[in-house]
């Protein structure tokens, strides 16, 4: 049984609960030289190509099972993947999908942008100024932990069924994590680096711009990526519940008229879309921040 050892960074906490899970998911194991594999670890930019064969195999297995179960007519509401694929193609060609996404994506993008700006600002302010932290931090922790989904019906009652309601749902479900990640990133700045800056007579402003923010950038980017994830949930939930537009509506409509292949096709499309978006964001994030995160003390010694 070979066990790799993850780099030491136990960033799991209430405040930024998703940060470490994403780290754990993204980092490939670093073993001792005796066990390190060759290809992907020597080409880190191709991390998503690692074990491409295995990835294809795992898709193949699941799709094969789906097909078999679907054809066994266990339940009318569980069609085989072949009919889902056909429905997907049909909806893509006749423009239904495009029409739905034209309604879903704008509030998502706008909402996430708004949440990022406000959340980053709030997080940075909380991180740098104690009074702000004392007042706002419990608020954001509550928002992150609590089921904000309960407020979505209220949002639609208050704001109607248009783009504003969707945007607010997106903001509600994505802002807290941005703020919390920014806060945590700033808080986690290595005190040695700050001491170093002060000993070289750096001003507070230089401290912030040259040490704290770069050090926090890793967590901040991760927070933005997680907020997109939350935003998808917000917009889908809003659309499922009320608005007669968008991909959520496509799902619930097809469900109500029992067009199950179409319903599954819509579901798969949004999940695939979300996954691809988040993967792209992860690639961008890696480009910008490399594997550099906040320096967290003594690195594991290499030993032979």
């Amino acid at each position: 049984m070979s066990l790799g050892v993850l780099p030491a960074s136990r960033g799991i906490s209430e405040e930024a609960p998703f940060a470490a899970e994403q780290e754990a998911a993204a980092i490939t194991p670093v073993g001792s030289p005796e066990t390190r594999k060759t290809f992907a670890s020597n080409n880190p930019s191709l991390w998503f190509m690692k074990d491409l064969g295995w990835k294809l195999l795992c898709f193949a297995i699941v799709f094969a099972c789906w097909e078999v179960v679907g054809r066994a007519h266990w339940n009318l509401a569980f069609p085989p993947i072949s009919s889902v694929a056909v429905a997907l193609a049909k909806m893509a060609i006749n423009g239904e999908l495009a029409h739905a996404y034209a309604s879903t994506l704008p509030p998502l993008a706008l909402g996430v942008s708004l949440a990022s700006i406000v959340g980053t600002f709030a997080g940075v302010v909380m991180g740098l100024f104690r009074p702000a932290e004392i007042i706002f931090y419990p608020f954001f922790v509550l928002l992150q932990t609590a089921p904000m989904a309960a407020l979505v019906p209220l949002i639609t009652v208050v704001l109607g069924v248009g783009i504003a309601a969707k945007m607010l749902a997106v903001v509600a479900l994505s802002m807290p994590i941005v703020a919390l990640n920014c806060y945590k990133g700033i808080r986690d700045t290595n005190p040695s680096l700050i001491d170093m800056c002060r000993s070289l007579t750096g001003s507070r402003m230089q401290e912030i711009t040259k040490i704290i923010l770069p050090s926090a950038s890793g967590m901040m980017f991760a927070g933005l990526r997680l907020s997109v994830s939350g935003g998808f949930v917000g917009v889908v939930l809003a659309e499922l519940l009320i608005t007669p537009t968008g991909i959520g509506d496509l799902i619930s409509y097809n469900s109500s008229v029992a067009h199950y292949p179409e319903m599954y096709a819509a579901i798969i499309s949004i999940i695939a879309f979300a996954t691809i978006t988040l993967t792209v964001l992860q690639m961008i994030e890696r480009q910008f921040t490399g594997v550099r995160g906040p320096y967290r003390g003594r690195q594991r010694k290499e030993r032979i």
């Binding site: 030289p33 005796e34 066990t35 390190r36 594999k37 060759t38 290499e302 030993r303 032979i304």
Partner: protein
């Protein structure tokens, strides 16, 4: 090349190790460890000394060559060998008592007898009173004493120590070295010691095996000859002490590039 020693308890024969990515860590290493001696593997980083120790311990398989313990070929860990780790390898969720008794616990000894054994060795390494503490409550030196007690408690013939004092501060390190010599006077073990400190090697060893790197090979064997004859507090004052250190340093310096 060392001459074959009839009373060698550990025989390493033509051991080579190649990593999956192709680099050769060890090439044709042969050495004998006579019973009751403290033999040190000394060399710069990357010479494969820890890998060699792991091979002898049975944690790693060599690409070629064999290890014999008491003239029997050995490929896996066994009750004849115990290991003391550089990072202590103490279970942080267990008390010192449980940690020291762990080897006995794995063998199935009853709780009463293994705790009694463990307490004996805890006292012997100077940790009496800390039985119910957790590792995070102990200093580095105390943790390593616990690691040593655990290795002693299983009564193995061969004790292997992988840079055991390098994660500890300098003063504690000297104390541990002195205490180790004192303990070995009482316990009569064969010890294979890995270090990159020349000073430590000369202080502690009956013989020092110098390893080169890229790939790791036996360069030289040096016999300081202090451990038996001299009192541990006088070793560093002996005029030959510094000479031997300088001699070894000259040999190793050439390989540091």
């Amino acid at each position: 090349m060392m001459s074959v020693d009839a009373s060698a308890i550990v025989k390493v024969s033509e051991v080579s190790l190649r990593y999956p990515n192709g680099t050769e860590a060890l090439n044709g290493v042969s050495l004998d460890v006579p019973k009751g001696e403290l033999v040190t593997l000394l060399g710069p980083s990357g010479c494969g000394k820890t890998s060699l120790l792991k091979i002898i311990a049975g944690l790693l398989q060599p690409s070629s060559g064999e290890i014999r313990i008491n003239d029997r070929i050995s490929r896996a860990p066994g009750p004849d060998r115990a290991l003391v780790f550089q990072d202590f390898a103490l279970m942080p969720w267990a008390t010192v008592l449980r940690n020291v008794a762990f080897g006995l616990e794995l063998r199935g000894l009853s709780r009463a007898s293994r705790q009694a054994e463990a307490k004996r060795y805890i006292a012997e390494v100077g940790l009496a009173g800390s039985e119910y503490k957790y590792p995070h409550e102990l200093s580095g030196g105390m943790r390593q004493r616990a690691g040593l007690a655990r290795a002693l408690a299983v009564n193995a013939e061969v004790l292997m120590m992988d840079e055991p004092f390098s994660a500890v501060d300098e003063q504690m390190r000297r104390k541990l070295q002195e205490d180790l010599l004192d303990l070995l006077r009482r316990e009569r073990k064969t010890v294979i010691f890995v270090t990159h400190s020349i000073e430590e090697a000369v202080y502690l060893s009956d013989r020092i095996v110098l390893l080169s790197r890229n790939p790791g090979r036996v360069m030289r064997v040096v016999k300081p000859g202090f451990r038996r004859d001299t009192n541990e507090s006088d070793i560093r004052r002996d005029p030959r002490y510094q000479d031997i250190i300088d001699d070894i340093w000259t040999s190793l310096k050439g390989y540091l590039n």
